[in-house]
Amino acid sequence: MRWLGIVVVVVLNPSWVWADERLAFFEKKIRPVLVEQCYSCHSAEAQAKKKLRGGLRLDTREGLLMGGDSGPAVVPGKPDESLLLRSLRHDGDVKMPPKGKLSDAILADFATWIAKGAVDPRSGSVSRQQGLSLEQGRAFWAYQPLRPAPGSIDDQLSRKWRANGLQPTPQADRPTLIRRLSFDLLGLPPSPEEIDAFVGDDRPDAYERLVDRLLASPHFGERWGRHWLDLARYADSLTLRGFVLKQAWRYRDYVIDCFNADVPYDRFVREQIAGDLLPADSAEARRRQLIATTFLTLGNTNLEEQDKSQLRMDVVDEQLDTIGRAILAQTIGCARCHDHKFDPIPTRDYYALAGILRNTRTLTHANVSMWLELPLPAEPAVEQRLREHEAAIATLQRQITALKSRQKSTPQARAITELPGIVVDDTQARKVGTWIDSKHTAPFVGAGYVHDGNTDKGEKTITFQPKIETTGKYEVLLSYSPGTNRAARVPVTIFSADGEKTIHLDMRKPPSKQGLFVSLGEFTFEKSGQGFVLIANEGTTGHVIADAVVFLPSGTTLPTKKIDELAELEAKLKRLQASGPRREMVMSVQEEKQIEDARIHIRGNVHKQGELVPRGVLQVALRGEAPRMPAQQSGRRELADWLASPANPLTARVFANRVWYWLLGEGLVRTVDNFGTTGEKPDHPELLDTLAAKFIEDGWSIKALVRRIVLSHTYRRASGRQPRDPENRLWSHTNRRRLDAESIRDTILTVSGQLRLDRGGPTYPATLASDYHYQHHDMRRSVYAPVFRNALPELFEVFDFADPSVSTGRRNHSTVAPQALFLMNHPLVLQQAEQAARRLLARDDLDDGARLDWLYRQALGRLPTPGERSMVQAYLDQAKERTAGWAQVVQVVFASLDFRYLH
């Protein structure tokens, strides 16, 4: 070892000698430039001012070597590999300084400095990391294991009221309670009969019975499924070109069915992420699981993006963003370009997750890429019929392909000898001006055709003169090969014994006979006469084509050709496709053929790939062993298992918090979609953990969780205000909540008697090609109104429906004049108010007072106050026309506070 030391000393020694020189070089030539040109954006000071660009610091040696988001800035000894120098040379994407290139002399200095080892005396460490480290992150509340506390919801909260000296409100009265519960669980108002039954039920468990009845209603899934559909950015169309997602409704119905059947939440999550990869014990189960994966495909993707590798990553990003927000309440997308600025999510984690989804094919790429529609499995008997039918179609398709390729290899020329009558080809025609030979676009007669080159307009003609042997009537057929660059009005003149006739042909359109000929009509030609057909290019725009003219003796017909054979086969195929059993399709995903890990995309740029990252999950939320990623599968199944695991600290917490929010109007964590460090912390962490733990304990039963919360006294309290707790953080009362868009519409239709309660299935015409200007007329529940991204029902838009392009856990709450104007003037409101008025007036058994009672009870769940009664009566007394007067009163009720709010 000793001699080795000596050798090292010997080698290094000269550099000691040079070091002073090189230091001086740095101080003289390099440091001043860095300070002057670079520090304003790349120094500790810039970092402190939050103006650091590209994550790069140039004020320490470590900063130079470590580099920024694009990698090391300097590779000592290798000027050409040093990003710093390339940027200074303006050689590549990054051009520094942005104001303009530095002088060649300075560039040469930098090259020399780097070549000689980039000696830099500046010490000081650089912290690249801006958010929490993984260690710090694991200590953050959201990533900690659940810590449930003993005691019910009420026990846990009442301790806090007492400690804060708050007096809770009493229980809400029964009419208020049944209205609140009906809207919360079903999204529909209770009928007057249901109100009476509940108010009159003096059994001690009357409330529990009501809760259980509502939980068992099929309308429960319609209400609660919609909550999930907000999170799943569910829609029936894409913004782009208004493309209708014809199979999306299956997913909507799947979600509704899952909530009705109380499918455990962990299974529900698993199916949506990896349903196609999970085992299934029946065709039915397999169908459901495939439909569940539509979740991954609903992004409002711009299929027209021409850079397909970019598009592929955009799809992955959108999926990650949705999964992150909906299931984990994490803002994972922030880490696409750089380490998360606040949360413990390094870029590596992003690409570990992205690698999984990148192995999953969501689109088929083309100029306009397309989502995948895959066949749904059917029951065995149906399957058999489907297979036979599909085989018949496949056979026909093969025949057609074969025929087409045969026709392609032999250009579709019609030999002159094949044609009856007198054929005059372009080769035999008399030309004035330059006519250019071509065979570019088939079909044609003979060896090709000629065209005018779209030049010298008015100077070219071509004359087709037949040798007529027998005087008589002839049908004149003219052939040309059509195309978009052809002239639209080509003058063709027929000189015959009948005189002269000019016809204008549109050569952009395919000829009507066998795709080759147009008939110019029947004319008389005489044996010794001067009959001919003349094509001119005068007054034309675009290419004029001249191919052949056929003079067919009257009564003769053109023989059919193999083109027709093709047409026949195609017609047959069409008939078969239209007639046979139809296989049901689903929007789903497929595993990519090549399974691989992803590389980090430097600053999110798909064309600047960095380090390879093994597939994995969010490290900070990983408790226990990391899932092992299979070599032959995307890893989605492992991702799904991790998401749905009881050990995942986020999944159960996030969902329990959402359920609390859906029932009480605010979450225990108020930022329901953000459990990161920029979100709010839970007001009652132990209560949240207790609910989450019980949720898991109850087998992830959503209904059990809902039941637990609505049975609490906390849920049942009267609404009110507590000046000492204006945000109601301690839940000493319930919050007054507004009806959402769906409930407003469904209640208006309930009062008018127009609401249809049938469930499921597609709700727009099957032939609909685009959602543009779609008119919504369906009278079914709002959850079934197609969610067309370019044509939402106006009521939805006005009343804060979730933006169907992004996962939404919390809708906007706006109070704006357009809402007032909608209720004052929109035809839907006016028509339904009138319907309701007719319905009321048809009740001969009721007087006006009883009619008003019924209206109030149906719409507001209570009787009118004496004040309301007298005001309405006075108004009706002045009405000129009874139906109109009542309709106006109904409309007033629709617009009133007690209609729009739950108390």
Partner: protein, 467 residues
């Protein structure tokens, strides 16, 4: 009539000018005050004349004699479509000369073709940017990028950002109006608020290809009741609301709902007048080309834009386009059709500029004319049209503190790629915000745990074109 204290309510409402009938509320979305302005503003409002589909710069304002010289020659170009699809450079294409003759115009001697003869009379008032470049080769991505600064992600549109930054100047009207927007290529997203609060959403007036009579504010009239009768009904509603409010004292949200009905009523009284063009003189209507078959529609829309601006709207977009996948100016074949579109907009835009100037409105109104991208100097295979070109094209600005009579930036000698003083679409956005007194780096909105900007992490103000 019993007023039920409504008069005092109305007075209170007049004091609370904050957006399109918006009443500051609700912890999550409300933002009581605007985040801007950050700087001294040179413009108070923007009119964006959107030429949907892609006007050819080399046939209009970017004069390239070389195209005449090399007409018909096959040369290598970095076709943006091919580049995006395959990464391949230098595709062979046939150069195509402009179909319209170029001449010099105005005091500044600006070269412009005969495509827009009327507009050419205004060149001394216009500021051309010849070196614009953008993202997205297809209409969908490029149109979204033009409006929202992103080709794919759901982001707020520029009008929404501006309204968010400045607030509205008239509580009876929406602050951001899009006249005859197209349903295609992003549709409502191009005037959407995305994650910004709903009050910043653009309000569409009519739709592309629809009749001019469609361009009205929605739900502003009751189909049957007279204003008097409707006020009577509204008084009943408000009386019942007061009754329902009793016993819930201090609930500001419920109070705001009551006030929203009064605000709606006020809008109903005032807003329709703004769009009532019968209040204009015949001379003004003629100036915009209203009444002439070719120019009636776009002229009407431009005049509406001026009236909306006068009434305090911050951002008015007028779209010349349609709903197809190949919108209006998209001449992949038969470039000669540009003439039809030019004729439809030339007189109206010229009239708008003349009118704005005469009324002194051009000083603080920034007029912006342009497409989502330009067109290639070479022909499509059919020989009669041009393909999309996001790499270099021309837009012009007028008024609002930009230098008149100048041309900024250059494309190469074919008019294909921006090469000198390049201006990215992000830069144009930053510059427009700057003129309105908004710093594009400070105009941020926190959503989903991070601050978003119209210009993302890009954009530089093009100071050279500011007066």
């Amino acid at each position: 009539m019993e007023s039920l204290g409504l008069l005092s309510r109305r007075a209170a409402l007049q004091a609370a000018a904050c957006g399109f009938g918006y009443l500051a509320l609700s912890g999550l979305t409300a933002r009581a005050s605007s985040p801007g302005p950050h700087l001294a503003a040179r413009a108070k409002r923007v009119i964006f004349l959107f030429m949907q589909g892609g006007v050819s710069q080399v046939d209009s304002f970017d004069y390239k004699p070389r195209l005449e010289r090399d007409d018909g020659k096959r040369l290598a170009f970095d076709d943006a479509r091919v580049l995006a699809n395959t990464g391949m450079r230098g595709s062979s294409h046939r150069v195509m000369k402009p179909l319209w003759k170029f001449r010099q115009h105005g005091q500044c001697g600006r070269w412009a073709s005969d495509l827009f003869p009327k507009l050419n009379e205004h060149v001394d008032d216009l500021c051309f940017i010849h070196s614009l470049h953008t993202e997205g080769v297809a209409h969908g991505p490029a149109t979204l990028f033009l409006h929202c600064g992103s080709t794919n992600f759901v982001r707020p549109s520029i009008g929404s950002w501006i309204l968010y930054g400045l607030g509205s100047a008239n509580e009876n009207l929406p602050g951001f109006v899009s006249i005859a927007p197209s349903s295609g290529n992003g549709g409502p997203r191009n005037f959407g608020n995305a994650f910004l609060p709903a009050k910043y959403q653009g309000t569409a007036l009519g739709k592309a290809g629809g009749p001019v009579s469609d361009a009205v504010f929605r739900n502003l009239t009751h189909p049957r009741l007279s204003p008097h009768a409707q006020r009577r009904q509204l008084d009943l509603l408000q009386a019942i609301n007061e009754e329902q409010l009793r016993g819930k004292p201090g609930d500001t949200e419920l109070d705001a709902v009551i006030r929203s009905y009064e605000l709606g009523w006020k809008m109903q009284q005032n807003a329709p007048d703004v769009l009532d063009l019968s209040r204009e003189t015949e001379a003004t209507r003629r100036l915009y080309g209203i009444g002439a078959k070719e120019t009636d529609r776009f002229g009407t829309q431009c005049l509406m834009a001026r009236r909306l601006c006068e009434a305090g709207v911050r951002f008015v977009q007028v779209t010349y386009g349609d709903n197809t996948a190949n919108p209006a100016w998209d001449q992949h074949s038969t470039l000669a059709k540009h003439a039809v579109h030019a004729q439809a907009v030339d007189q109206p835009i010229s009239g708008l500029l003349t009118d704005l100037k005469a009324r002194g409105l051009l000083d603080d109104t920034l007029v912006w004319w342009g497409s989502e991208f330009g067109r290639t100097p070479y022909a499509e295979k059919n020989g009669t049209g041009r393909d999309h070109n996001p790499g270099g094209f021309t837009v012009w600005l007028a008024g609002g503190g930009v230098r008149p009579g100048v041309a900024h930036g250059k494309t190469d000698e074919f008019g294909f790629a921006a090469v000198e003083n390049k201006v990215h679409m992000h830069d144009l956005h930053a510059t427009i915000l700057h003129q309105l007194g908004l710093d594009h780096e400070k105009l941020t909105y926190r959503y989903s745990g991070r601050d978003f900007r119209l210009t993302d992490v890009h954009g530089h103000v093009v100071r050279e074109i500011l007066s």
